[in-house]
């Protein structure tokens, strides 16, 4: 598809020279030098020059611009070209009767490529014009190639990210499938995590989370319960209350997840680090009363703090083999009042900010597919 548009651009041959000067004789003086090789367009004043530039943007390869013209001056035209970005791909040679440092300086400052003084020698003008045209051709060509290459890189990066996300989702759904839960929990945790990350980036720049990192964290949040794959059915699927011993085993899913990940350990990989931290620390609590490592405060990485609060919320409002769902208002109260463990003030604040969006998803006010699309 891109190739087609390139072809269209090439059909408009870039071989027109615009000569803007109020005296016909002066225009002719340049015209006769170039008319054998180039199409020539002429402008009698600055306004005409501007409208020709707008109309023939694709075909004009060089502009000769007189400094002093009626209606709009050469500098006005340059300023216009610079404001509208034309100056980047159409070179301008200023023509002037007298050299004054002030106007020369201004012309260059506004983006003129060269200045020639009347009266000029045709051979020199020809040579300078050709050099400038060639220079711009090469530059524009290189920019096009670079753009194309960048586009390809972005496309392949997007493809990679998509397949990566697909694999992570597939892996996490294995765990859910075994827990006899619908795959929705993972989708919701990811969506809630993305809501939290947005608020964190907006209101807590102190955490220094970038957009790219947030995307990786959202993706990694899907794996938070990976270690549950190693928990026996008798515990994982038990409808009643777990014994102390069973509960201790259940808590180990945080470590089993890390064991699994460590087999594929990737040093220095950001995504690996998010997956690992989220698996291990998503049951830690701000006051140190969580598990498995009893980390406290900001010892718990921010991404694990986010997943732990959204995981708790979703567990509260979902039906599980061992419990009925809580109403959203009640779940929110329990979290705010620390009945499910202690969270940082920042996390509780984000929870408040995201409250309406969290409730909407849970109460099915809009379909979950919509929520994912709006991310």
């Amino acid at each position: 598809m891109n190739r087609n548009t390139d072809n269209i651009e090439q059909i408009v041959e870039k071989n027109t020279i615009l000569i803007a000067d109020d005296a016909e004789l002066n225009r002719e003086m340049i015209k006769f030098i170039f008319e054998e090789e180039y199409n020539i367009l002429e402008a009698e004043d600055g306004e005409q020059a501007i409208s020709i530039i707008q109309e023939h943007t694709q075909s004009v390869c060089l502009i000769f611009l007189d400094l002093l013209m009626p209606k709009k001056s050469g500098l006005d035209v340059l300023q216009f070209m610079s404001n509208e970005g034309y100056i980047n791909y159409i070179p301008v040679i200023m023509i002037t009767g007298e050299a004054t440092d002030e106007t020369d300086e201004k012309a260059y400052e506004y983006g003129a490529m060269d200045i020639i003084y009347k009266p000029f020698a045709p051979n020199v003008v020809m040579r300078r014009a050709r050099n400038i045209i060639e220079l711009y051709e090469k530059r524009i060509d290189m920019e096009k190639q670079l753009e194309q290459r960048t586009r390809e890189l972005v496309e392949s990066k997007e493809k990679l990210e998509k397949s990566n996300e697909f694999l992570v989702n597939a892996l996490s759904s294995v765990v859910e499938f075994r827990s006899l839960e619908s795959g929705e929990h993972i989708h919701r945790v990811k969506y809630f995590t993305s809501l939290f990350m947005d608020y964190i980036m907006k209101y807590y720049p102190k955490y220094g989370v970038t957009k790219e990192q947030a995307a990786l964290i959202v993706n990694a949040s899907a794996l938070h319960d990976l270690g549950k794959i190693a928990i026996p059915d008798s515990i994982l699927l038990k409808p009643g209350r777990l014994t102390q011993e069973e509960f201790e085993e259940m808590k180990r899913h945080t470590l089993y997840g890390c064991e699994l990940l460590e087999k594929f350990k990737q040093e220095e990989n950001e995504f690996y680090r998010y997956c690992y931290d989220i698996c291990r620390y998503h049951h830690e609590r701000y006051d140190g009363n969580g598990y498995p490592d009893h980390l406290k405060g900001d010892e718990i990485p921010i991404w694990a703090q986010v997943v732990s609060i959204v995981d708790v919320y979703d567990a509260l409002v979902s039906k599980r083999v061992y419990k009925d769902p809580y109403a959203v208002e009640e779940a929110a109260r329990m979290i705010q009042e620390g009945e499910c463990g202690n969270f940082s003030p920042e996390m509780l604040n984000c929870f408040d900010l995201a409250r309406a969006e969290l409730f909407d998803v849970t109460e099915g006010k809009f379909s979950f597919a919509d929520a994912l699309q709006s991310q």
């Binding site: 005296a23 004789l25 003086m29 006769f32 009626p70 009767g97 009266p119 045709p122």
Partner: protein, 117 residues
């Protein structure tokens, strides 16, 4: 009258114009264009009206055209009046206009002879 004789008559630079335009035929063509250029008339008109900005622009254009045509003498007087008008020295400009007019007339007479021959 040859092109060279014409340049001698109007006190211009024949070698310079030939370096630029290469052929006599082309010089004659450009001389015809010069005769149609309105900047001298515009200069006279705007000075009568006391419109110094437009007078400056007309003188400036005229000067540029003379430069391109290598009409050295007329270039000099039109350059002087341009500078006077640039600093809005109306008395000096009025004084210089006589010189410009006589130089201009000389060029126009020459062109007439050049085109007729």
């Amino acid at each position: 009258m040859t092109v060279q004789e014409f340049y001698t008559e109007v006190d211009g630079n024949y070698d310079e114009i030939m370096a630029r335009l290469k052929t006599d035929a082309r010089v004659i063509k450009f001389a015809g264009m010069f005769a149609k250029d309105d900047s001298y008339n515009a200069l006279v008109r705007t000075m009568q009206e006391g419109n110094l900005d437009d007078a400056f622009r007309a003188a400036h254009t005229m000067k540029g055209v003379c430069q391109n045509m290598a009409f050295t003498r007329l270039f000099r007087s039109s350059n002087d009046i341009t500078e006077a008008l640039r600093v809005k020295d109306i008395d000096r400009a009025n004084m210089l206009l006589e010189q410009v007019t006589s130089d201009y007339q000389r060029v126009m007479d020459g062109i007439k002879k050049l085109v007729e021959s």
